[in-house]
Subunit: 216 residues, 2 copies
């Protein structure tokens, strides 16, 4: 029993070593420079050994990316949001999400792009009407419900609206990552405008100021 558990632990340690080396390379040289042979050299093993612990190079990459994305998710959900107004909570959440994503741009894009062809089903199911159950999306959904609570709005609409917020935020993050040469002030300005203005507009067309009172 003890010996089996040690084996298991050793396997896990080896996997960890491989994944750590891979993460290192990705962080230092970029995703496209990652290679099995480089990992092998880094952990001081032969390249072929890696295939005893992972099926593919893709499986390794998936793990690396998934970890990056988990950091984003936890960075967002760890932030305590003090405000009682659901609108302000929404703003705060959005900002957190964007900034966390921008801190690991490669992982973010990779995870988003790979989620269909790989086994990353934990961020998927976005479009399957599951936003109520999703941990990450549930907060968003609750915010919307609070915003709408006085009015009588179809649950489907809330669901759709939540998805739309996610999707449009995704778009902004993508653009901010892709267009690397935006200045820091402009980046901040866009994030601010989006979080304070756009998200609320998407969420709700009534509880808005009418376009006056804009400050950067």
């Amino acid at each position: 029993m003890t010996i089996e558990k040690r084996r298991e632990r050793e396997i896990e340690e080896m996997k960890e070593r491989i994944l750590l080396a891979a993460s290192d390379i990705v962080a230092l040289e970029g995703v496209e420079k990652l290679s099995i042979r480089k990992i092998a050299k880094k952990i001081e093993y032969s390249p072929s050994i890696i295939y005893h612990y992972f099926k593919d190079k893709e499986e390794i990459l998936n793990n690396v990316m998934q970890r990056g994305y988990k950091k984003i998710v936890s960075a967002v959900s760890s932030v305590k949001i003090e405000s009682n107004s659901p609108e302000e909570r929404l703003i705060q959440m959005t900002k957190n999400y964007i900034k966390a994503a921008l801190n690991m741009p490669d992982e973010f894009i990779a995870v988003q792009l790979n989620q269909s062809k790989s086994a990353l089903k934990h961020t998927s199911s976005l479009f399957k009407g599951a936003s109520k159950e999703k941990t990450a999306l549930s907060v968003l959904y609750q915010c919307l419900q609070e915003i709408y609570k006085d009015r009588n709005i179809d649950e489907n609409i809330i669901e759709l609206t939540a998805q739309m917020i996610v999707v449009s935020t995704l778009g902004l993050v993508f653009k901010l990552i892709i267009e690397k040469d935006i200045g820091d002030e402009q980046r901040e300005r866009l994030i601010n405008f989006y979080s304070k203005e756009i998200v609320l507009r998407i969420a709700n067309s009534n509880t808005l100021n009418d376009g006056k009172e804009e400050k950067n």
Copy 2:
């Protein structure tokens, strides 16, 4: 003179042949399966010849993708929009854009992702306050100006709003491309909801219906 022009034409023809073969492979097997040697085999030349007409594999890929994207742009701009209401024009434009993009998903994503590190500067400058001058964006900008014409809204806000519409639409398109396994009805539903509801909410919080009158 005549002979020089023929040379030039022949060079252009060769480039065209290479690009066409590359497009073929990309369309048939996907971007990641494209290789110099495959192109060479397809055009019945040696692999090395390609480097006399293109600097890189990347240069070839850029050309292929750029063409794909141009098709999207022209597909969108060729559609005559009959409505006089700027809001309805906005809806129509958005739908056209999304559907055109979904017809060449690979090219769309590739162009968007590569625009920073390659020479595709024609879709860039999105964040440099240039949306007034951009052909593609100018229509969008005009729509917004019409929508806002009775009110007194800062040009900067119009600019920002235009960018936000572009960016959030981008997000939706990305998600629709990535999540390949959405049913056709659901895809249609999302596009509809986004075009009819969300874009108008982003554009303007006043000229909206208050959440009633929802139909799928």
